[in-house]
């Protein structure tokens, strides 16, 4: 294997650096033969979680299929920053049609590949959270229900960032967006709304559903590879912080994503056939304040008029996730520490 030294600086985490792993376990990005599915030169913002997630996910899919991937893209940041005519960052066959139809277009691609006898070529569809949980939801549910042979990846940055940071059904409560301003008695997004797409996907009984964050790219790669071992409809929901929309520092993207997981606000798990088969335990639990306070979209909760009541409601959501998925396991945690 051709390799080059890649330095990973791990801060405040137990994640194992690439340099400590054997060649076979290293990320695909450390391999000079990586696909570079989405290549450098695109126009993503500095610190864009989506660009990072897409690069790792697609290169992992390329490795898993020996380079036999066709990608379908919904309208959104990923599409816009990667293909300003006449340039393209894609080194794989790539099709963009509309905002709300990526799952159905992917169904069509998969059907055409089947009818053409190209059994080894696989289809990955990708969209942001708007293209997944809102405008693309009907087509996505249809694709799930038919169990079409498509891996659908949602890069969730919790809002319509491409159009200027508006609320989607994936925007969390209390978060400020351009359509849920931090004004009035209940500033930011409303509590009690929104869709939990991974659970909705599981309710379709599709063969594989998983969540991941860009804080654990090995985990993301492993889940993509697992997904490519399976045929039928598969869903991968990746949390990708957006420095612009979240008001977080662009060099903090990984850190923010890690805190989303470590606070319990974003449960990381995988499910097969509608049943949860594994969860990524919280290694060092943090209060939700640690996650919220470093993002300007939550600044109204901590300013001159702090809202500990709202923070407590968000903490309750994290606690509910921890209970639902069993994210904290004291015994396992201490055992791991001992090792």
């Amino acid at each position: 294997m051709t390799t080059q030294p890649v330095h990973f600086y791990q801060i405040g985490s137990f994640a194992v650096g690439n340099r400590l792993l054997s060649d076979g376990e290293r990320t695909v990005q450390s391999n000079l033969d990586r696909a570079n599915s989405i290549d450098s030169g695109h126009r993503a913002c500095q610190g864009c979680g989506e660009a990072l997630g897409a690069r790792y996910a697609l290169d992992a899919a390329m490795r898993a299929t020996n380079g036999q991937i066709v990608a379908v893209n919904a309208t959104g940041c990923l599409e816009v920053f990667s293909t300003p005519y006449p340039e393209t960052s894609w080194r794989i066959p790539w099709l963009h049609s509309l905002f709300g139809n990526a799952p159905a277009v992917a169904t069509g691609v998969a059907a055409a590949l089947r009818v053409k006898g190209k059994k080894d070529v696989r289809v990955v569809a990708q969209a942001g959270d708007g293209g997944t949980v809102d405008i693309g939801f009907g087509c996505l549910s249809g694709m799930f229900e038919r169990n079409d042979d498509v891996l659908f990846i949602c890069y969730d940055n919790e809002g319509y960032m491409n159009t200027g940071v508006q609320r989607s059904a994936a925007t969390p409560p209390a978060a400020r967006t351009a359509t849920t301003e931090a004004v009035g008695p209940e500033p930011g997004n409303t509590f009690g709304q929104g869709k939990d797409l991974p659970r909705i996907a599981m309710a379709h009984d599709i063969p594989y559903v998983a969540t991941a964050t860009v804080a654990d790219l090995h985990d993301l790669e492993r889940k993509v590879e697992r997904a490519m071992e399976i045929h039928g409809a598969r869903y991968l929901h990746v949390l990708v912080p957006c420095p612009l929309g979240w008001g977080s520092a662009s060099n903090e993207t990984i850190h923010v994503a890690r805190l989303a997981k470590e606070s319990g606000l974003f449960p990381v798990f995988e499910a097969e056939g509608g049943v949860v088969t594994s969860v990524s335990k919280i290694r060092r639990q943090v209060p939700v304040e640690d996650y919220l306070s470093i993002q300007r979209r939550y600044a109204h909760l901590f300013g001159k008029h702090p809202r500990p009541d709202v923070v407590a409601r968000i903490q309750a959501m994290a606690d509910q996730n921890i209970a639902r998925y069993g994210l904290v396991d004291e015994q396992a945690d201490s055992k791991e520490m001992a090792q």
């Binding site: 790539w94 055409a112 009818v115």
Partner: protein
Amino acid sequence: MLRQIEGSRAVAETVALCRPEVVCAYPISPQTHIIEAVGAMVKAGELAPCEFINVESEFAAMSVAIGASATGARAYTATASQGLLFMMEAVHNAAGLGLPIVMTLANRAIGAPINIWNDHSDAMAVRDSGWIQLFAESNQEAADLHVQAFRLAEELSVPVMVCMDGFILTHAVEGVDILDQSFVDSFLPPYEPRQVLDTNDPVSIGAMVGPEAFEEVKYLAHLRQLDALERIPAIAKEFADATGRDSGGLVRPYRTEDADIIIVALGSVLGTIKDAVDIRREAGESVGVVGITSFRPFPAEAVREVLCEARQVVVVEKAFSIGFGGVLSTDVAMAMQGVETRLRTVVAGLGGRSITRRSLEELIGTAGRGELEALTFLDLDHGAVERERTRMSETRRSGPSAENLLRDRGAAVTAPVKEQA
């Protein structure tokens, strides 16, 4: 082989002869019989290899067709009315991407009020989408046009919509000569896309294009439609030479020689108009009719050529632009620029109202006397409209009128409207 067969069945069997590789379907009347029949053929293994996909909406149907076509598969779907509007974003997208998808449009009115019967409002709503739109006069032509449509679409890299009147054609049983597989295979070579999603030669399709090139991209689409003005009659001629059948083409004149009055229309109503023309000709009136088969691209030159000698042109259309008037009429008027003629619009047959031969004969008579107004609504119940306007003027409240008009219609046999209101 000539068979007594339902229009939808004839279309389904002909589409199957075209060897589509991906067919996606969402049911909407009056298109259902077409996709049911294609689906059964795929399920029985008579049409193979072909993927038949039951989707969750028309928007998905066109989107699946887009994905399949971009991956190099011959793709087909069918829809009507609300379904066409629901997929409209993808309809424009398919044309913009230059994907040679063929779709049957079983023409049906657009609500509200909801109405499942025939008119041309649906086709008119997408006339600017970049699709070629061919209108069938009969079930024979509807079937034949599909073979020509795939050929045309794939030659020019433009999607083609075959418009056939809902129920009037789709559900009518009449004699149709279904083509042979060997002929269709010789007429329609396999689909070889210019650009395809291929892992051996990766391309990006659907990039963002800004002001620096967008106008050129759209102009190229226009040029392809102009190319179609050449290819449509050429393909129709080749088809006619092989089958002996006059199907397709740009325009179809009937008894227009030396005609003072020429009626212009689309679709199945041409049959009734021809009957009316025959009768009025026997009565000594100088009248003819022109059917427009290719609505997009609009054959302005051919239309002008066939209409330029007429003193009066009467466009009978099953759709109109609310707040203005005729849609087809506008195109005809543009084609007739600089030609001295009297252009009249007759809106008829909306929501499936029968266009009777008697009404058409009267229309020709009125036109002959020079009494036809610029915009006429054929067989409109002016009394019912006036009564509803009176009722509406009595209150400032807004809201739909459809139910009132139905009540008004029923009033003749049941209770007076006033008491119910």
